[in-house]
């Protein structure tokens, strides 16, 4: 019984209580993913599972047999960052950086959601495909809180990547 994190296989834990978040940080030793609230309220623990962003604190590792998890470490490296990682750097999309891995995982999946036409609460007419306005970005990123209030720069970083179609 295994699950995959960033293309590497890991044995599932024997204790079913282990959250996917604790599994990623402790068992897999990938400390990029952060624990803020542990209750689905902040988004610091956001990872991408089978292409969709979720809160890893509100799911159990044992429920993810054969699933493919991508964490911030899987998106890029310091020498080869992803477009969003680079844009967060160029736009100063953070201060302390604690929420940043969650923000970037969330934004990565969000761009795919927009491309697939998924509407949001900010979409004027939900029968049509959404456009990537700043209002859409803010609504779609509302599950990622930033205690430092870096929001304007986060939106700018995401907008840049979206507009460049990267």
């Amino acid at each position: 019984m295994t699950l995959t994190i960033n293309d590497k296989e890991y044995e599932l834990p024997s204790d079913p209580r282990v959250s996917l978040l604790d599994f990623i940080r402790h068992d897999a030793g990938l400390s990029g993913t952060k624990k803020g609230c542990d209750h689905g309220q902040c988004g610091a623990c956001t990872v991408i599972v089978n292409g969709e962003r979720i809160n890893s604190c509100l799911t159990l590792a044992i429920m993810h047999e054969d699933d493919a998890v991508t964490t911030i470490e899987g998106l890029g490296t310091p020498t080869n960052p992803s477009a969003l990682q680079q844009a967060f750097l160029s736009h100063d999309g953070y201060q302390c950086g604690y929420c940043t891995p969650g923000q970037i995982c969330s934004a990565t999946a969000m761009l795919t959601e927009i491309a697939s036409g998924l509407p949001s609460d900010a979409t004027e007419d939900i029968s049509t495909s959404p456009k990537l306005t700043d209002e859409e970005i803010r609504e779609r990123m509302s599950g990622n809180l930033c205690r430092c209030g870096a929001y304007p720069n986060i939106v700018a970083a995401i907008r840049e990547v979206a507009e460049a179609g990267l």
Binding site: P16, L60, S120
Partner: protein, 327 residues
């Protein structure tokens, strides 16, 4: 978290048996159950993972649409037919939680989500819903989120969800498989209960029951609106919400299916409102009469008194938007 056993249900026929064992609970997206298990509000001995059962389809059924129990909130809100024929459902879902949560949240889990009453979620506080007979902390305490309709002296909690409010306006049906393998269906309007003297029971599910899906009836004409009033503009539960399907012909209202969230222990549906509004020419005074009827028996508990005028205004604003009357 209290230790528990984990078991995966592989076949629908086996689930009933697995979840009817004492101390067993189904787990779907886990976004409510795991949250409450961490707080030791829920302490199952065994959790039955239903996620690999084939219950995630969304498909046309007769003139209507069947939404599987395990369809995620994202899949439902993004479905073409939901967006075109039942936009109220997509809007209500999108007004709730966040994209990360909606990616995990399921139809059945959303229907069964528990109240956000702060005494319920704090095991050091008295709460008749969590610990029957221990008292209700909220009645004399902090009751900002709490109900104004259908309360009892045992419990004044609200059902916190958005999706089910739209389903109540649409008059959808919940499909349930019982322990013996029989299937029954019940209107969403009757699925949740009032607290009365058994607040520990949120809904009509019996031990061993499993929700298999929700059936939406044939689409109806008219405007479909979902207005949610909350403390901040995203990522917050409703203080009050209004789901409205309103149709007009020659200046008169011909359909008015209304349901309300955040004000009672269940999505609130009052058939008298439709009867009052249909056949009438829309006007502010008509909407005021509708609010009088809706709120006839409403009462607050201090902190939530504001919900009575708030609901009145939210109803009027929704009806103005739907009928074109100037607010």
């Amino acid at each position: 978290m209290k230790p528990f056993h984990y078991q995966r249900a592989d076949r629908l026929e086996h689930v009933a048996q697995l979840i009817s064992a004492s101390g067993a609970m189904a787990i779907a997206g886990g976004t409510n159950l795991i949250d409450l298990m961490k707080l030791q509000v829920e302490t199952p001995d065994t959790i039955i993972d239903v996620n690999r059962l084939p219950l995630d389809q969304i498909a046309e059924e007769g003139d209507g649409l069947r939404i599987g129990a395990l369809a995620t909130n994202t899949a439902t809100a993004g479905h073409g037919k939901v967006r075109s024929d039942y936009p109220i459902l997509a809007k209500a879902i999108l007004a709730g939680a966040t994209q990360q949560l909606r990616n995990k949240a399921t139809t059945a889990g959303n229907l069964c989500q528990r109240t956000r009453c702060y005494y319920f979620t704090n095991i050091d506080q008295p709460c008749n819903k969590r610990d029957p007979g221990s008292g209700c902390g909220a009645i004399t305490g902090i009751a900002r989120l709490h109900a104004i309709l259908g309360t009892s002296d045992q419990c004044i909690a609200t059902y916190p969800g958005d999706m089910a409010v739209a389903m109540a306006a649409l008059d959808a049906k919940v499909e349930i498989k019982d322990r013996a393998g029989n299937t029954r269906s019940i209107a969403v309007r009757d699925f949740h209960r009032l607290p009365n003297d058994a607040p520990e029971k949120d809904n009509i599910l019996e031990p061993g029951d499993i929700i298999t899906g929700v059936i939406l009836p044939a689409p109806v004409p008219g405007k479909q609106l979902y207005r949610k009033v909350r403390e901040r503009s995203s990522y917050a539960f409703a203080l009050c919400s209004v789901a409205a399907i309103i149709d007009m012909d020659e200046g008169k209202i011909t359909r008015a299916d209304l349901a309300f969230g955040g004000i009672a222990h269940k999505p609130w549906f009052d058939a008298r409102l439709g009867e009052l509004l249909v056949g009438e020419t829309p006007s502010l005074s008509l909407f005021d009469k509708a609010a009088d009827l809706l709120l006839e028996d409403a009462h607050g508990f201090g902190e939530n008194d504001f919900k009575i005028p708030l609901t009145r205004r939210a109803l009027a604003a929704t009806l103005c938007e739907a009928t074109g009357v100037d607010a």
